[in-house]
């Protein structure tokens, strides 16, 4: 029995065969979802270990920090596609009633703005990832000698997440411009 239907939007199925992006975003989303569960088990495990066996798991704080950033960037593009990114749709609804075409063009423009900002960010972020990749001994989270995680896998995920979001923004712009809002 369910109290609420938490998926009000029908899934977009069988749109067209050129939708190669969809499965990729779903995959990233699934990975992020599994990661959320992992995060929960990690922290619960730490609580159990430390209260029952007096043996806390090392580096939980670092792993949580690492995880939250990873989860967000894995989910970002799928969130965008599902329409769950916060926006005020007051004006757009009004414009849409008059002219779906105009509303579509406005939304397409907005999507391109989002894409442009992320392209700039990715462009300037990528060198940071490269540095973390080539010098893992200098780029890590945590304390040397106690617990550390290299940052390159995280930065890599961030790059992938940003790239996927850029692609989704561009795809959205295309859809809005062609089909209206």
């Amino acid at each position: 029995m369910t109290d609420i239907d938490i998926a009000p939007r029908p899934p977009r199925r069988g749109r067209d065969r050129s939708d190669l992006l969809g499965p990729v975003l779903t995959g990233l989303n699934a990975l992020g979802s599994v990661w959320i569960m992992g995060l929960m088990f990690l922290i619960c495990g730490d609580i159990l270990m430390r209260t029952v066996f007096n043996a806390p798991i090392a580096g939980v704080a670092e792993m949580v920090t690492f995880s939250i950033v990873g989860i967000v960037f894995l989910q970002l593009a799928h969130t965008l596609r599902a329409g769950s990114m916060t926006r005020s749709d007051l004006l757009i609804t009004m414009v849409k009633r008059r002219s779906p075409r105009a509303a579509g063009l406005l939304l397409a423009f907005f999507s391109l703005v989002g894409a442009a900002l992320l392209i700039i960010t990715l462009w300037y972020f990528f060198p940071i990832f490269q540095k973390a990749w080539t010098q893992p001994e200098r780029n890590f989270m945590g304390n040397p000698g106690f617990f550390r995680i290299p940052t390159w896998p995280l930065y890599g995920l961030m790059c992938i997440g940003m790239a996927a979001t850029i692609l989704e923004y561009v795809a959205q712009a295309w859809r809005y411009a062609r089909e209206g809002a």
């Binding site: 998926a7 979802s33 967000v72 799928h78 769950s84 907005f110 703005v113």
Partner: protein, 437 residues
Amino acid sequence: MGGLEIGFGAILVMLVLIYSGLHVAVALMLVSFLGVLLMRGSFDIAANLMVGAFRDSISDYMFGVVPLFVLMGLIVSVAGIGRDTFDVAQQAFRRVLGGLGVATVAANAIFAAITGISLASAAIFTKVAVPEMRRYGYTPHFAVGVVAGSSVLGMLIPPSLLFILYGVLTEQSVGDLFIAGVIPGLLLSAIYGIGIMAMAKFTPRFIGGTQVEAVEAPRMGVGEVVAKLLPITLLIVLVLGGIYGGVFTPTEAGAAGAGGALIIALVKRRLSWRDFVQVLVQTGHTTASICFLIMGATLYSRMLAMSGMPGWLGDTVIGAGFGVDGVIISMILIMIVLGTILDSASIMLLVLPIAVPILTGLDVDLIWLGVIAILAVEIGLLTPPFGLAVYVIKSTLGPDSDITLGQIFKGAAPFALMMALVLMLVFLFPALATALL
């Protein structure tokens, strides 16, 4: 152009962009990026500042709290714990005037102690309580008004996503904020309850309903009541007890609560695989959209700091003899007005980076201010034209329902007024927020 003009101009442009429907996070980033570009005249500086916001604004142990509390809230939502609580409350208040209304408030207050999202409560109780109230002859606008009004408790009674957000933005302890929300939350529930009984007595036409609902429904035995209340009690003890007793950090409490909720849902056999997948996807979406907003807000507050605008505004306001109270009242009014076009999280992200530096300089208790801010923001959830809670209720009712948006706003109006009353009380008596700390 100086920093000040750019600071003020940025806010104006941003409000226009947000109103036009640009994603709020993107609007924050775009305007901040352009603002820095204008002030410093360097594309590299502006771009690197943006990269900085992406890289470090959510990279903190504390943010682990976001997905965990969202996950917990969604699991208890699909596990039918809201309905169980309502069933018990319905029986407890069956002899009271306006009993079903009071029961809805009580169930919401209890349910709020394990969920941190108003909109989840609004959706659940629309499905559970509204049909029941209408069956007993309550007017449609009252039935939905109660649900809209009491869903606000979800944000005030800990755990609460808005308190988490506020704590993150102002660098206050999330645990302290949670505790500060307890008394105002209970006070608001009590005032709602009294208000409903008063309305039932003095304006019976507004709420409708039969005098005493009693008898019809089969009474539950003690065993059944215990079975229905035990899970939620355990979760409340685990989460709030853990934080209050200092056993858990808020992040750990979130993980323990989500784990506990999962076990309860599995034991009660109320979590299908399909629901579970939906819960996880939804958790991811909520987490990502909130954290993306936080990245935008971080960049925006760094841009504002660079422009020197909040400092100047603070000096001017104090120079004009406004005083602390004046500043806080202006903040409250601005938040309520913004509530007509924006959701609560976005309002806090827009207003706090300006208000908090000013108020910190005036030695304002930021924990108390948090309670004030959240009450102000949540009043906006109930007021037209935007009133997000109201739209959630409308969409949960479905297209076949005869209840109009206007009716929902009308029914919610008395509750918005009662919230304003509580806001005033907390403003006048700060101890209401700080007594338990």
